[in-house]
């Protein structure tokens, strides 16, 4: 039996959850709670027939008892006595909860759009980035210059300005609205399409830079060897250079995903009702900006931590001896 087979045999029988630390258990429990709640909300809001569940946009927990409890704690605190400080503190907590609970359904709907924007854009941008980066590294002078110009133009101008040009300047919405089906059922309306187009253009430029440096990490002798066995230049890129550079690009790519999750909040400025838009709408009607934006920051944090955890898993599972899978980020 070779060494590699021996290592595989030793690794096989253990289930993934054995050997988790208490901190990891806590992390997984929190993540399960967050994502479990989100999925329940989406199912409740979009798939359950009327009469089943709480109804669209209605919180799972009734707010009235919380408000009542907050008021009674407030009264206890005002009456003075030995527990006045604790009662005051509890009253504050309960009233914050009474504020948060009714806001949650709208935020859950916002998270859905944030995820759609992020995942659609980063996925659509990927093939464009592969073309751009390959053109940059292996293309002729003309193609190389075009790819460079595109990348520098997109990376050198603000994302918000790019969205405004697409949304207000080019009036893309007019054309998209004319496409049959847009905005009906589960097909998003025109502003979301514009946002996806904008983020795709933007992300392709950034991803192409990550991929370019990954392409340059592959030792050039390998392409020569590929040519020497009779593969064409394109064949060598496809079968030898790109599979390696994708692995080298994963850390940069994770970074881009994390950025895009947060940058997708800029879609709020072109009327897309994603997570940040919802938070802003609630904050401006209730005037509780600090509480609302703290809450929404925690939402983004939960999404980002989940995403980077998944990407780290991808990095580990695609690693090959000698390529990728750095242990630096292992917690």
């Amino acid at each position: 039996m070779s060494d590699a087979e021996g290592a595989q045999a030793a690794a096989r029988p253990t289930a993934w959850w054995t050997g988790l630390t208490a901190r990891q258990w806590l992390g997984y429990a929190l993540a399960a709670g967050f994502w479990g709640w989100l999925v329940l909300r989406w199912v409740n809001d979009w798939f359950l027939p009327p009469g089943v569940g709480t109804g669209r946009g209605q919180p799972f927990i009734a707010v009235a008892p919380i408000r009542a409890a907050a008021a009674s704690m407030q009264a206890t605190a005002a009456a003075g006595g030995p527990y006045a400080v604790v009662a005051g503190w509890l009253a504050g907590l309960l009233s914050a909860l009474a504020f948060v609970v009714p806001a949650l359904p709208a935020l859950a709907e916002g998270v859905w759009l944030t995820l759609v924007l992020t995942v659609a854009s980063i996925t659509l941008a990927f093939p464009i980035a592969v073309l751009l980066s390959t053109a940059r590294v292996y293309g002729g002078a003309g193609v190389r210059w075009l790819a460079l110009a595109y990348t520098e133009l997109i990376r050198g101008t603000p994302l918000l300005a790019q969205l405004f040009v697409l949304f207000f300047g080019l009036g893309l919405t007019t054309y998209i609205r004319a496409v049959p089906g847009v905005g009906t059922g589960f097909i998003p309306d025109q502003a979301i399409w514009v946002a996806v187009i904008g983020f795709t253009i933007n992300s392709s430029a950034y991803q192409s830079e990550y991929l370019r440096s990954a392409l340059q990490s592959v030792r050039p002798g390998q392409l020569t060897a590929a040519r020497a066995i009779g593969l064409s230049q394109l064949g060598g890129l496809r079968y030898v250079v790109l599979p390696q550079s994708f692995r080298y690009a994963i850390p940069g790519w994770s970074n881009e995903l994390v950025y895009l999750i947060k940058y997708s909040s800029l879609a709020a400025f072109i009327t897309v009702p994603e997570l940040f838009f919802r938070a802003q709408a609630i904050a401006s009607t209730t005037f509780r900006y600090t509480a609302m934006f703290t809450l929404v920051a925690l939402f983004y944090l939960a999404i980002v931590l989940s995403a980077s955890h998944v990407m780290h898993w991808v990095e580990r599972t695609t690693a090959i001896p000698g390529i990728g899978g750095s242990r630096v980020r292992q917690l």
Partner: protein
């Protein structure tokens, strides 16, 4: 009938630096030709011109009756017929030893997978690495990597094998295993053009030696003749230096 490989009056310069200045030689089937010469004399460039990894300026190269240097020649088809082994192995880092050997079969010759795997395993067996078939290049020693490199080239059934300093990047204790494979290959009748300063290998396996200096072949002949009675004083000094180095190192 013409010879297997004919190189005629090949000229190549990089800018104002003339690297090959009219190189002419030939090889028959089953020949093992050793190409030696001082560093920078154009040995690697000559090898790379033969499979057109480098474009020459003038001259002609013919392999088995096909003119490699013809303007419309299909370079991919030519390279399929010429195996090449590199100084730094250049294995595909993301593929196992077996996948390194089968990639060309699968993607160039479009051989069905099962057949390619069978052929690949046979080639690894031949270079003594069947146990390492599923290991990645980073898990192999330099000598093992170079043997995979040889198996990768052999799997394509080349008419000619080019070796570009196959042992010069190896630790001394790993050179032997690679030379053994090459010795074996020469004995089996493979036509081999080898850039190498391993004089022991030259004595045991070479049918002819070429000395390249200043962009031309200054001397050629069977190894015994070159070692015993070189025509040029320069050849004698160069060979004795190589032999001394080998004895000392």
């Amino acid at each position: 009938m013409s010879r297997l490989l004919e190189v005629e009056d090949v000229v190549k310069s990089f800018g104002s630096n003339v690297v090959l200045d009219g190189v002419t030689f030939g090889m028959d089937r089953g020949d093992t030709t050793i190409l030696i010469g001082p560093s920078g004399s154009g040995k690697s460039t000559l090898l790379r011109c033969i499979n057109r990894l480098t474009e020459l300026d003038s001259g002609t190269i013919t392999l088995d009756g096909v003119e490699v240097t013809a303007p419309g020649a299909d370079v991919n088809a030519i390279r399929r017929d010429i195996g090449m082994v590199f100084q730094h192995f250049n294995l595909f880092a993301h593929l196992t030893a077996l996948e390194n050997v089968t990639l060309g079969l699968r993607r160039v010759k479009e051989v069905p997978k099962a057949e390619a795997v069978e052929r690949g395993r046979a080639e690894l067996e031949q270079v003594g690495l069947i146990e390492q078939a599923d290991q990645y290049p980073a898990e192999l020693s330099g000598g093992q990597q170079q043997r995979v490199g040889i198996a990768r080239a052999l799997a394509m059934d080349p008419k000619l094998m080019l070796f570009d300093e196959p042992t010069s990047a190896l630790d001394p204790e790993l050179i032997g295993e690679v030379l053994e494979v090459m010795d074996d290959l020469a004995a089996r009748g493979m036509t081999m053009l080898v850039v190498s300063h391993e004089m022991g290998f030259a004595r045991s396996a070479a049918t002819e030696m070429l000395v390249l200096d200043g962009g031309v072949i200054v001397e050629s002949g069977p190894p015994a003749q070159l070692f015993e009675a070189p025509e040029h004083e320069r050849t004698r000094r160069f060979l004795s230096r190589l032999t001394e180095m080998e004895a000392g190192g």
